[in-house]
Symmetry: C2
Subunit: 108 residues, 2 copies
């Protein structure tokens, strides 16, 4: 084998971000009921404890309510990992829009 070829590489920033999403979901989903899904209480706790500051930057106090309503719509009161990641993606797009808008305001 090539020397050093079996070394463990450090994860990249993006890999760290993906690992965080997986870890955070399971940290809350395992609290009660189906340990691979968030029930309403677990989701609320996750949003309040993990996204408070970020959501406040968005200056849209109704954003969490809107998310909860969307999740209510499918009536199973459970959020699987797929739905969770889609939610995080949507929030991240909203934050990026805000970021880009600020950049464009600054000119150039």
């Amino acid at each position: 084998p090539v020397p050093g070829s079996d070394q463990v590489n450090m994860p990249t920033q993006l890999e760290i971000a993906m690992n965080i999403m997986i870890r955070i979901f399971h940290q809350y989903s395992c609290k009660e009921g189906d340990r691979f899904k968030l029930n309403k209480g677990e989701l609320k706790m996750l949003l309040q404890q993990e996204l408070t500051e970020f959501l406040s930057c968005q200056k849209d106090p109704q954003l969490v309510d809107k998310i909860m309503q969307d999740l209510d719509a499918n009536k199973d009161n459970e959020v699987d990992f797929n739905e969770f990641v889609v939610m995080v993606a949507a929030l991240t797009v909203a934050c990026n829009d805000y970021f880009v808008e600020q950049l464009k305001k600054k000119g150039k």
Copy 2:
């Protein structure tokens, strides 16, 4: 004002993950052409440099090729932030599926 109410709170892990996705995208999208979109070269560079290790864990060497083909399908050869986040979300779901499968194999 309440003492301490104006303190800057540390970002949560999930907020850090969202910030990473935004920062990484712009780090590559600003290299050439439209600085708010990834062209094919920028996307390829991002995948190779930021997701190599993670993708290799997935044991699916064709995953990046599949992603590139999907992106080819819309023929504009540009990836905006929304498309990028959807891709990261899909990859994270694949990784979570693998993680959950391992957990279930271990029993309990």
